[in-house]
């Protein structure tokens, strides 16, 4: 190559800019949100007036009345116990259903589909609906609440466990399978040990969630502190309501910290 072989390079036009879908999506979303605002008849005026009122409203909660504290603490204790039982129940159900709902462990495709559907169904039913049904069958009290929490969160826990099981390293599964292990043995040796850490994290998360839900299930008569809050608000007793909310808040925050700490210890 000599210098005479060099030719001036013609500057080429840039290739056409690829069609960017983002602005379209953004416009569509904004349009949808506007429609929704209109359909729900939410007016910003109401909100604006509301904000003013709300300032005054929230100040009413300023003096919490702790006169019934011991009773509230007792109710909170029942709520915590309800959450515990619900979580244990969920754990038991999920323990047996999750392996069936994991594509790599399940013994046959029908079992897989059925287990998945059962878990989906349990997840889809709101705890409140389940609590209503159980209250109708068992009467008022914390037991229907515990059952409702148990059934609903069994669906979540089962799905989490199944997804974790599906992520177990294929080689590990083949290693145990090559010894001639059958389904229950595969689960206990290649399955659960491989996801133990994750699984415990999920259980703590669900326990946390159940404590929150247990506080509100009282609203449908499924026992606990929710009912007390409903009553005090209905009677416009802001002092007691504030006290109740603080008790609920404090408990949930404590459980939150404890579960985060435990999860930190595991991880």
């Amino acid at each position: 190559m000599s210098i005479h072989d060099l030719r001036p390079v013609r500057s080429q036009d840039l290739p056409p800019k690829p069609h960017n879908p983002v602005p379209v999506w953004v416009m569509a979303t904004l349009a949808a949100l506007w429609l929704i605002l209109w359909d729900l008849e939410i007016s910003f005026e109401a909100l604006a007036y509301g904000v003013e009122d709300m300032g005054e409203y929230f100040s009413r909660y300023g003096q919490p009345d702790f006169s019934n504290l011991s009773r509230y603490l007792e109710l909170m204790g029942i709520t915590l116990a309800t959450a515990l039982w619900g979580t244990v129940f969920a754990l038991l159900v999920a323990f047996f259903l999750a392996p069936l709902a994991a594509r790599n462990f399940t013994p046959n495709p029908q079992a897989y589909r059925i287990a998945r559907e059962i878990l989906n169904f349990m997840r889809a039913m709101p705890d409140l609906l389940l609590a209503l049904i159980f209250v109708a069958a068992l009467g008022l009290g914390p037991l229907p609440g515990a059952l409702a929490l148990g059934v609903h969160t069994a669906g979540f826990l089962g799905k989490f466990f199944a997804e974790s099981l599906e992520r177990v390293d294929k080689g590990v599964c083949e290693g145990v399978a090559s010894t001639g292990a059958n389904f229950p043995q595969m689960i206990m040796y290649a399955g659960w040990p491989s996801i133990l850490r994750e699984a415990m994290g999920y259980v703590l998360y669900i326990l946390d969630r159940n404590v929150r839900m247990a506080s509100v299930l009282g609203l449908v008569g499924a026992g606990g502190i929710g009912l007390a809050l409903h009553d005090t608000l209905r009677l416009f007793d802001y002092g007691q309501s504030a006290a109740l909310i603080l008790v609920i808040l404090a408990t949930i925050l404590i459980i939150d910290y404890a579960s985060a700490w435990l999860r930190g210890r595991l991880g």
Binding site: L40, L132, I133
Partner: protein
Amino acid sequence: MTTVSTWRWPTPSGWLPLPLVGGVLVLICALWLTAPMVEVDFVRLIGSLGKMTAFAGQMFVAPDWNYVPQLLAKMLETIEMTILGTAIAIVLSLPMGILAARNATPHIVVYRVTRDALSLMRALPELVWALVFVSAVGLGPLPGVMALAFVTVGFMGKFFAESIEVVDQKAVEGVRAHGAGWLQVRLFAMLPQALPDFVGTVMYILDHNLRAAAILGLVGAGGIGYDLVMSMRLFQYDRLLLIALAIYLVVTLLDRASDRLRSRIIHGRQA
């Protein structure tokens, strides 16, 4: 008896490891002690199985087809509450996330206060906030949307804050070196890096909020919740069946859609 000597656990002593036994015992104790509080009574449970199957049988009556238009309207309201509440929350949680991120916040005190505020917003379930907001602004979907948005900001704010805290400092330095101002640095260097996990989290939030929205009606905060509880109280099983079915369908649809979207994103990124 030969059983004791023939079976072993795979530990040096042949027995179960102590921490495991201890943990299980603690749990059993806790359950034993709290059983009366929860009124756990297995006899009662088994006895009520009959009642529950009878109840389930009662549910399978001819559905009240006249109710369908109202059902659809209420379900639509529920879905709209979910979307609106989530959208508002996402917008509001962007600035909150910036304030609550150690590397983006203007002052350490602001950081502390915002973090605690977000924690509080997350702590109580939506229903409790809905109760309070209904008491403040009256019945209807507005308090429901507020309650959903409130709790979601608590969650999304923390999520953004944590994503911002792990951004690659080099990109931030690069933008800053070109003379970007305080806000520009956060908008153009920090937030874009936090976005990829965003879609997955939004799907999860939508899923959660839809379920929450379905029950807010219980306290008058809009959606299908009110009809749900009333049909139960008034023994209108022909309606209850439709409501339960509608909730099940919508929740499942969203579930499937978000699963598919999530796998599209995972595989899309690998492609």
